[in-house]
């Protein structure tokens, strides 16, 4: 038994967390602005943008994976541009996975942030504008510090969702060890070659980690809602 653990290849997990960490960081920066603008927008085009950001939730990962693969491959203008001018190949490597994950997990970051912003009292933001503060200052000094539970939810769910993705990753990245072979893909392969011991260990680890992550979110949000007790 100890031998099994000793010989266990941890690289798929490390890769999964590296991918999730990178994706979460990029998405956080992007989504704060997307969610803030969506929450403050009174434009009639808002539903269109909301629908676009929610699309990855409902699309089958294979559809998403196919389009991403198609767009980033060297035969497409975008893929050609990246390859020719920047020297970056975008498919079947880690950068391609990051792009795919960012698209795939976008709604999981945008939606909690947007609903967090929308629950803030309008008067509170207006009080900041009247105090002479720009929208940018209001966002960072007033809005963000008052939606901590939503921030926590958005970050952790995005992270966990990226760790848990499978279809898109498989299509865009394939299964190259240390490059694109993340934990979920590794489990799939273990089952295919009937290495159930490793599959069990990997799967068990995924369940435990996911559960711990969710537990932390719920405990944190419970504490926050008790401390804050609503917005003044």
């Amino acid at each position: 038994m100890i031998e099994v653990f000793k010989n266990l290849d941890l690289s798929p997990f490390i890769l999964s967390f590296k991918l999730a960490g990178t994706t979460t960081t990029i998405l956080f920066v992007l989504s704060v602005f997307i969610a803030w603008n969506l929450s403050q927008s009174r434009s009639k085009f808002k539903p269109i943008f909301e629908a676009i950001t929610a699309l990855p939730i409902v699309l089958p990962p294979s559809v998403l994976g196919f389009y991403i693969l198609f767009t980033l491959s060297q035969n497409s203008p975008l893929g050609h541009f990246f390859n020719e001018y920047l020297g970056i190949k975008m498919v079947f490597n880690f950068s391609g996975l990051v792009v795919a994950s960012c698209i795939y997990s976008l709604p999981f970051m945008v939606q909690p942030l947007q609903s967090g912003f929308e629950t803030l009292p309008k008067n509170m933001l207006e009080a900041s504008y009247i105090a002479g503060k720009s929208k940018f200052t209001t966002l960072f000094k007033v809005a963000l510090p008052n939606i901590k539970p939503s921030l926590m939810t958005a970050i952790v769910i995005t992270f966990a969702h990226t760790v848990g993705e499978f279809g898109v990753v498989l299509m865009v990245g394939g299964s190259i060890p240390n490059e694109t072979k993340v934990a979920s893909v590794a489990i799939y392969e273990m089952v295919e070659i009937m290495d159930y011991t490793t599959a069990h260990i990997y799967s068990g680890a995924m369940v435990t980690i996911s559960f711990m992550v969710l537990l932390i979110v719920y405990v944190f949000n419970r504490k926050q809602s008790r401390q804050i007790g609503g917005i003044a």
């Binding site: 900041s128 504008y129 008052n146 917005i231 003044a232």
Partner: protein
């Protein structure tokens, strides 16, 4: 001097209406804005703050805030605004709420001491009572030494005792800073105590404009005193009738004869006045 001449289409509680206001307000005056709900008071205040758009023009001491060509952003108007629901920043302490507006420690400390809030300076807004929160909101509004202070029913969520205390504090701040102030209020005693001019809006138009006494006093002709109230019930007792009327926080009984009793409708607004000793009760045309 604040010159206002604005128009705005509104969808009020009584359907579509036009808010049409032309006013000149002297510097350092304290104006009470009164009128039924849905008459456009809050909208007028928000237009002055730049939080809502309107057609027309607003200028303050010659500076154009609103014209057909440009609208000055709320950030650039240099005003103070006190919301009915306080709108404090929960993530900042009381002192930081004030310093957020302008990093002026001495002014912040001075305002907090005027409103007896010094000891609570490091507390978070959520641990304060309603009256304390509104004091913080008031101090915060004064932090950029505003040209114009706007208050939207600032005291209506507070109990009567706290109201009276805060009225004194508002008055004290007004005397010290001499800020031109416009306050939405329904409370006659508040209006009388604080304002030197009352503007009454109805359906988006100014229907009354004068000092508190002339606008609020309800007596006419030889009436010695007069109250308005709601007729709650008319009860027959032997051969006479007794009207039960709610005036402010009190209920009074007035004796009626049969013909008077038949004319009056329960639920209507009535005025009760006396000339000598006998109370006179009559319907009020609305």
């Amino acid at each position: 001097m604040i010159e206002i001449a604005i128009n705005k289409e509104l969808l009020g509680s009584h359907g579509a209406m036009t808010l049409h206001v032309e006013l000149e307000i002297e510097n350092q005056s304290f104006v009470a804005l009164s009128g039924q709900s849905g008459s456009g008071k809050t909208t007028l205040l928000r237009i002055l703050a730049g939080l809502e758009t309107a057609q027309g023009a607003i200028s303050v001491d010659g500076e154009v805030w609103l014209s057909p060509k440009k609208t000055l952003a709320p950030q650039q108007r240099g005003i103070g605004f006190v919301f009915q629901d306080y709108a404090l920043f929960p993530n900042m302490s009381v002192l930081d709420n004030l310093l957020f507006v302008r990093n002026d420690q001495s002014l912040a400390r001075h305002l907090l001491s005027l409103t007896q809030m010094e000891e609570l300076a490091s507390r978070r807004p959520n641990s304060l009572s309603g009256g304390q929160k509104q004091r913080v909101s008031l101090c915060r509004a004064m932090m950029n030494r505003p040209k114009l202070l706007l208050m939207d029913e600032p005291l209506s969520a507070l109990d009567p005792e706290m109201r009276t205390r805060l009225q004194h504090e508002i008055l004290m701040l007004h005397r010290e800073f001499e800020t031109t102030t416009i306050m939405v209020s329904h409370d006659p005693s508040e209006i009388y105590r604080l304002s030197n001019r009352v503007i009454v809006l109805k359906q988006g138009a100014v229907v009354n404009d004068g000092d508190a006494k002339s606008v609020l006093l309800k007596t006419q002709g030889s009436q010695k005193f007069s109250f308005e109230g709601e007729l709650l019930d008319v009860v027959k007792v032997d051969v006479i009738y007794i009207a039960i009327v709610s005036i402010g926080q009190q209920i009074v009984e007035v004796v009626l004869d049969e013909s008077e009793a038949k004319e009056l409708q329960v639920g209507s607004t009535v005025s009760i006045s006396t000339k000598a000793f006998a109370p006179i009760i009559q319907s009020v045309k609305k």
